[in-house]
């Protein structure tokens, strides 16, 4: 199966090389595409030196949604059957990739999300982060009846139909939760697999208190709208 690992990176020069090396070691047969989202630091140069199959340099910063979608566009045009997205900050351990790929390889799911909370993994998120995750878990459960323990996780694998869907239609900013709803609305099978996550290896989270408030409001609105949007309508 032709597999692409998408690594969106914004100012992650300190950790990107290690992530690429780890992915290479964990999945030697996979292709790696780094999407550099207009970083101000040396992310692009460091990534290139690490030798992935492609470094896609966005000329301006698009935000995580636009960057990830570029990866899916690349996957769609390259004829990849599976795609995985993984954070460039080292939070996601590439050795866990096999776990989130397994349900797809077995044909049990169309999308599999790596969850920190499905089983006790010793990972402790800060309380405010946990509160947000709990809120979205509750909201998705209320709207779809399905329980996702880690809806904000950006560690996920998808198959060909979803690659094509995401290449056309992917939320702009803070896309993770909204994407689940998008898939659920189209009747695609989304599941979770338990993964161990590390703390970020370098750099800082982009989320500030004011941004979290915007995050909550924006994602809540987007969830409601996606819930009631005609699924055949393409934006």
């Amino acid at each position: 199966m032709k597999l692409l690992v998408i690594i969106p990176a914004y100012n992650e020069a300190a950790s990107i090389a290690a992530v690429i090396a780890d992915v290479r070691a964990a999945l030697p047969e996979a292709d790696i595409a780094v999407v550099n989202d207009g970083s101000a630091d040396a992310t692009a140069a460091v990534a290139r030196a690490a030798g992935p199959d492609a470094v896609i340099d966005l000329p301006v910063n698009l935000g995580i949604g636009g960057a990830v979608q570029t990866g899916y566009l690349y996957a769609a045009r390259g004829g990849y059957e599976l795609a995985v997205q993984i954070d460039a900050d080292g939070q996601h351990d590439p050795r866990e990739l096999a776990h989130i790929l397994q349900p797809l390889c077995e044909g049990r799911a169309d999308c599999c999300i790596g969850s920190r909370f499905l089983q006790r993994t010793g990972y402790r998120a800060p309380w405010n982060r946990r509160l947000g995750i709990w809120f979205f878990t509750w909201m998705i459960r209320w709207m779809t009846g399905k329980r996702f323990t880690d809806p904000t996780s950006g560690f996920r694998a998808v198959n060909r139909p979803i690659i094509e869907l995401f290449a056309r239609d992917y939320p702009e900013d803070y896309p993770e939760v909204e994407a689940i709803m998008l898939l659920e609305r189209r009747g695609l099978r989304v599941c979770e697999a338990s993964v161990v996550m590390r703390g970020r290896q370098a750099g800082r989270s982009s989320i500030t208190p004011l941004k979290s408030l915007y995050y909550m409001l924006k994602v809540t609105l987007a969830l409601c709208i996606t819930r009631f949007r005609d699924v055949s309508a393409v934006r």
Binding site: I56, D57, G66
Partner: protein, 115 residues
Amino acid sequence: MNVYLAAAVFSLSFVFVSIELIRRQKLQEQYALLWLTLGVLMTAFSLFPHLLQWLSQAIRVYYAPSLLFAVGLLFSLLFILHLTIVISKLQRRLTRLVQEVALLEAHRAEERSGP
């Protein structure tokens, strides 16, 4: 010079400027349509003040000028809404354009390093 005359002169020049902007292609017709409508309305009201009087009486507005404010405010809101719709559309197009440029560039780099 009374206020009606001043208003008429202002409104007419407003319409004139709008048309001129379209002619010089500084303003696309689809956006100009709203401006022209506003200009024509303003001209009509300033040339025929009784129109406003009559209209406000017809819809039971006791102080005629307040109708003017209400219409102006509504029009401004409408225009801002229109602009945010346009911006959203542009944003989507820009995102796709940036993505395409980046993919093309990556493709070119691949070909250079390849055979």
